[in-house]
């Protein structure tokens, strides 16, 4: 019997699979200029955070009482100093580090808690009734109100801020995973698995979860900048990181008192927050496009 020969170009065709062609996702990212920009910014931000101890010219909390309010580009202080003469560049680098720490921790919390709950809610109607109603109630409150409330109850610290922000993000994560689960569980391959007597756990872990991964990753990159802003806001309100530990929010909050005397002390952390958010948003958008099979340019149109 004649068999259709394996067409070599088929892999490059319409590209239906999610997560299958890792090479395809990478090449799609690479061909998207915004994705490249976001990716480069992301690398710069992460490097700045990781290498903060090496890059920073001074310890972030070291005070120089003889040189407060230095302008940017003064010798010895590239970005100037604040009211206590602390080097703004050093504080900025360590501030980025704490911001990313809080961001990553809260995203991890949202993913680790939200994903299984979303899977359960999407897969079983009984769980759905409970989980989705609770999600609805939580979503009725603005994200920041919840985060502020939780942080106020648990007391100010880096860990508590991360937990508060993470918890506040769990409902959106549940929504996303639940939606994906609802879609995937109707697909023929899940029906096929059911006719092979696959258990619900098997189906959820081995079929639904891998196919929902792309959506989860994309959602994580969306949550990340929100968490970074949230950290800045909590710290600004005195509910997050405590001085003298540097954090972008604390730098902003401190700079507020002498905003007209040394505007640079507020401008640089502000720019840093904006850049971090932009980096994650651009990269997340590009990632979503890369994962979306309907978005890839169709090469083999008939």
């Amino acid at each position: 019997m004649a068999v259709e020969t394996l067409p070599p170009g088929v892999a490059a065709g319409a590209g239906e699979g999610l997560g299958s062609g890792r090479g395809r996702i990478l090449s799609s990212l690479r061909s998207n200029p915004l994705g490249i920009t976001g990716g480069i910014m992301l690398v710069v931000v992460v490097l700045a955070a990781v290498l903060a101890p090496v890059l920073a010219p001074y310890p972030p909390t070291e005070v120089h009482f003889d040189t407060p309010f230095q302008r940017p580009l003064t010798e010895g202080f590239l970005l100037g100093t604040d009211d206590l003469g602390r080097d703004i560049l050093s504080r900025l680098l360590f501030g980025i580090q704490t911001s990313l720490q809080v961001g990553v921790l809260s995203v991890l919390l949202a993913v680790v808690v939200g994903t299984p709950l979303g899977l359960l809610a999407g897969y079983s109607r009984g769980f759905d009734a409970v989980i989705s109603r609770l999600t609805d109630v939580t979503l009725a409150f603005p994200f920041l109100i919840i985060a502020v409330g939780l942080a106020a109850i648990s007391g100010p610290s880096l860990g508590n801020a991360a937990i508060a922000l993470g918890i506040a993000q769990i409902p959106t994560m549940i929504r996303v995973v639940r939606g994906e689960t609802l879609r995937i569980k109707e697909s023929d391959f899940v029906l096929g698995a059911r006719t092979m007597d696959a258990s619900p756990t098997w189906i959820m872990l081995r079929h639904v979860l891998p196919n929902a991964t792309s959506a989860i990753i994309v959602q994580a990159t969306v949550i990340m900048p929100v968490a970074v802003i949230g950290e800045a806001l909590l710290s600004f309100l005195g509910l997050g990181i405590q001085p003298p530990t540097p954090s972008l929010g604390i730098m902003l909050s401190d700079a507020q008192q002498y905003i007209f005397r040394a505007p640079s002390a507020a401008i640089f952390p502000g720019i840093a927050i904006a850049l971090i958010c932009l980096a994650f948003n651009l990269f997340g958008d590009a990632l979503r496009d890369a994962f979306d099979p309907t978005n890839t340019p169709r090469k083999g149109h008939r």
Binding site: M1, A2, V3, E4, L6, P7, V10, A11, G13, G15, E16, G17, L18, G19, S20, G21, S187, D188, F189, L191, G192, A193, R194, T195, M196, D197, A198, W202, R206, H207, P210, N211, P297, R298, K299, G300, H301, R302
Partner: protein
Amino acid sequence: MLQDAENILEVEDLEVAFGGTPVLHRISFAMRRGERVAIVGQSGSGKSTAIGAILRLLPGSGRITHGSIVLGAGRTRGDVEDLAAASEPVLRRIRGQRVALVPQDPMSNLNPAMKIGPQVADAIVASRRGTDGGRPDRAEVRQRAIALLSEAGIPDAERRYGQYPHEFSGGMRQRVLIAIALAGEPELLIADEPTSALDVTVQRQILNHLQSLVDARGTSLLFITHDLGLAADRTDRIIVMSEGRIVEVGTPRQILLNPQEEYTQRLVAAAPSVAAVLDAEPLTPPAAAKDATSPILVVENLVKEFALRGRRGSTVRAVNDVSFAVERGTTTAVVGESGSGKTTVARIILGLETASSGRALIDGESLTTTRGAQRRALRRKVQPVFQDPYGSLDPTYSIERLIDEPLRIFGVGDRPGRRERVGELLDQVALPRAVAQRRPNELSGGQRQRVAIARALALEPELLICDEAVSALDVLVQDQILGLLADLQDRLGLTYLFITHDLSVVRQIASDVVVMKSGDVVETGSVDDVFNRPHAEYTKELLGAIPGATFAA
């Protein structure tokens, strides 16, 4: 530039490329006024690209890189134009006015948020743009739209003018699309697979109607289809395309009865609708193979009611008192149009749905009542092959993992043993063992369906439920898969329950038929009886609607 004034369209050396790769290789053909021409080809043959080029509506990076497309002068308006070189303003006066398109999918080609009537009226207004400067008279346009809708075969068009697309059935929507295409009184109508999404009986009504409209107006029709039988029934001339080239051109009689090219011969041999009438040689061994053992599958008085959403207590009966039996080692086809309940029956047998009443027994046991180990054992006996080979294989899995998943679920064998079994299964479905490490999206539709079959065979089932298992495939591939299924039945003694809407496939593979309509069994019997001596009116209607029947003689 037009070589013959009697031609409405002359395509010369047309080459179209996407990016840098040419997909149409210098094709040439001409159409005479009032002629009906079919372009037949499988997916990827370039037939849609050809009409995209004629309308200058190529998707994405498609460009005409060589050749001309000359449109003859209109009878009442318009000059000879080279569409390949025409500017966009010129094209806008041609599209919809002199050349119109009936698109493929009636579900997605109407704006769901807009009423039907205004969509037709829009087409009328657009087609008059540039002819007279004046604002169109709204009442007059409305009257014209209603007239067009009734002409296209929509009853009570006055009332339906204000309805939305979702209130129309697929066939009715296709009629609306035809009305839109005819709004500008075009001289060339291009129909791109206008009925491939519709049931056969609806397909026949629509095509009869389209033909009478086209004949009455003297419009030329360029008909794109993958169905050779349909092309033969409906057109004066057939152009066979493959891989961006014209393979053969001829009258339906020449192409079907005396094909010259090897490709056309294969296509004719594989075309199920043609084969169903040309030679009735079944692929399966005749019913003599039946032994007198107890049937493997017995369906008894099966009823399935679905609750209607939002209306408490009211239900719709999808399956109404269905009974039939399948003998071991034979193939039974369940035939019906969409909404006939055939898929629901299959799902109940597979235990994916529970019956409202009645039973589906496999070797005397039902999947819905058994539990635990007994149910697991029963599952191994029945496996499905689904319609869509793109949706039925998890895209994140490699072929090897896909095929050995059932083995892992049932804990069959150890790792090397399972790997060996996957190799055997790939051999059985005639795929090279090297595909094991690939992923589904690297394979073609036919290869994927082979993987789906290999996966279904992994647990050595006795009964395969094929739910439209070949409907999504091109005819040549479809033929190969049907051959593979027949071959596997021979070697492994499998029993098939074949759910399909395509009567011509039934003729090729099945020994017994169950004809279903709106949840009821209309007729059962052997293929010979049902095809040659149909009793039910509906069966006769279905048989009459098989395209290609004109060449039965």
